[in-house]
């Protein structure tokens, strides 16, 4: 870690323990979040990216189970492991230190409560005074690009884009240090997506917070993230500064993923990745990508590849690299 590290995930593993099988959703993931940084986490469905996001707020519920590892948060009162926090400490930590915009932000507002009440209750919970809360609601809505009269609305009276902005206002309402956006714009149209993301990034700069951006859209990550983690089958396949990931991808999965998306820039024919991701409820021998990989060789079948440095700050979990 460096002095500016604000959160550190160390060797984190999460299982979903079902009556008939156990799904290893996240295995041995480590990553750092620095102050003011935008971290991208990309992966396809089932790659474990949303599960990972849940652990940052210790929101996993049955049948999710933390198998090991730490989520260390460096707060103003020193460092602490989020996963070991007592309920009262955890409640203080949630939203005040780390807040989140959810995958289906369309459904993350309570349909029977007014917007102002949903924004107000969390501020009161985190110690803001009544009159302060009232002002802050207006201020936050305005930051998110909404007008004051939204506060009296119920969620069903707002459009998708407006709801998403309410979620941004809500997420920023207690001055968090880290904001997690989990597929926050997936359901939106591209023009609205861009409006919302540019505003979010601007707010991130103005309020100097860190942003963890989780998505399946690798192009989107390229446009906004400083560092990128590519997840596959519950593991980080490759991680590094975003220009390196896109200019010289190392892991065969990252390469194949980039080759599978059509680009407006160059005329190329795209190629899908054959096969399907491995079943995470079964024991995987060797590299999880081996059955779909074009560069597979003997070692991949038996030995699990560790993340190894391929250049400064750029890591790949592949036997082709490192020793």
């Amino acid at each position: 870690m460096t002095t500016s590290t604000i959160m550190e995930v160390v060797d984190l593993s999460v299982d979903y323990v079902l009556p008939d099988r156990t799904i290893k959703a996240v295995s041995h993931v480590s990553l750092d979040v620095n102050k003011g940084e935008v971290i991208g986490i990309v992966g396809e469905s089932g790659s474990g990216k949303s599960t990972l996001a849940m652990t940052f707020l210790k929101l996993l519920e049955y049948p999710g189970k933390i198998k090991g590892g730490k989520v260390v948060y460096y707060g103003s009162e020193g460092k602490s492991d989020v996963l070991k926090m007592k309920p009262s400490a955890l409640r203080k930590y949630r939203w005040k230190e780390v807040s989140m915009i959810f995958q289906s932000a369309m459904n993350s507002l309570n349909p029977v409560m007014r917007i102002e009440d949903q924004m107000g209750d969390v501020m009161v919970e985190h110690g803001y005074k009544e009159d302060e809360v009232d002002e802050r609601i207006d201020y936050m809505l305005q930051l998110a690009g909404l007008t004051k009269n939204v506060r009296k609305s119920f969620p069903h009276e707002l459009s998708g884009g407006m709801k998403q902005r309410v979620n941004i206002a809500l997420a920023l309402s207690c001055d968090p240090k880290i904001l997690i956006a989990d597929e926050a714009t997936t359901a939106l149209d591209v023009v609205v997506q861009r409006q919302i993301l540019t505003r979010l990034l601007k707010l991130k700069d103005d309020l100097s917070i860190s942003l963890i951006f989780i998505t399946h859209d690798i192009s989107l990550v390229a446009n906004i993230a400083d560092k990128v983690n590519v997840m596959y089958a519950g593991k980080i396949a490759e991680s590094g500064p975003s220009n390196e990931i896109f200019d010289s991808p190392q892991h065969p999965y990252t390469k194949a993923l980039l080759a599978s998306i059509p680009s407006l820039e160059q005329e190329k024919s795209v190629k899908g990745i054959r096969g399907t991701p491995p079943d995470l409820s079964e024991e995987i021998k060797g590299c999880p990508f081996k059955d779909r990989c074009d560069s597979v060789f003997d070692r991949c079948k038996n030995e699990v590849p560790e993340l190894k440095m391929v250049s400064q700050g750029h890591y790949a979990a592949c036997h082709l690299y490192g020793r």
């Binding site: 707020l57 930590y93 949630r94 005040k96 507002l109 309570n110 209750d121 069903h156 809500l170």
Partner: protein, 332 residues
Amino acid sequence: MITLRYLIRRTIYMAITLFIALTLVFLLPRAVPGNPVMDVLLTKYAGRINPYQLKIIESELHLGGTLWQQYVGFWGSLIHGNFGPSFYYYPEPVSQLIMTHLPWTLFLLGTSLMISIVLGIFIGSYSGWKRGASDSFLQGFSISLTSVPYFWLALIFQLVFAVLIVINGFHIFPVAQGYGITVTPGTNLPFVLSVLRHSALPIITLVITSFTGFALLMRNTVVTVLDEDYVLLAKAKGLSDNTIRKQYVNKNARLPVATSVALAFASIVGGAFLVEVVFSYPGIGYVLYNAVTVSDYPLIEGIFVMITFTTIIANFIVDLLYAYLDPRVVLK
């Protein structure tokens, strides 16, 4: 939100329903070959009602003339709240009889429904929130209760608590009737206590057989709501469990329960009637039972009309309540 337009539309709709129900009541005895009403009058009540009175009844019940004349006359009487005289209690009018006995049934129905809903929401919410042991208990309990006939359970309770168990020569609950023979009806304490004691077993029966429906529904919606993103967000916000449960879970989960009350009302009416019969409780159900036994057709019809009317009003109130609970509903 409720608009005037909605109120008008709704009133028209209620009127149509009532119209159909009443027309059914009118047509039914006339569709059966050989006018059962007159048959009964001429055979069963031959000695009790003299030919002169018979003529009056025939005109009051609009049994003569063309079908259309009968129909018009039928409506004319109804608008004046006149269902004709009861055969059995002749010449007491049916409306009078209903008015005497309706309060008893409303008390029984209202109290049991209220207790069932509150109990159901409370237990269902707790059980859904906790899942686990209390949950499977609720499931098992309701599975064995859903098909228990109200009146059979009433008979069991009557047998056990009013007949078999005797403590120091006293029974826990009385076998039957609405109040004891020693008290005088009126606003005096002994009467009120007696009424409460007499209604205890009927109410317990109705509550036990009907609350599980609400509880199970509430439990299932709580479980669904718990999986909603807004509950997850509420947790992420660091809100206390208490706030999450009250503001985020229960407020949403009780909505389907509110809709189910209307349907439950229609079904619990039948249960209440049968239970009244078991306990000889002086409500509408018991009167209806007696009316059926003695083929007192005007009384049967009058009770049906009145109960239909009550149910329609109850449905309307539930709809208004629903609009009040859910801001997304616009009654327009």
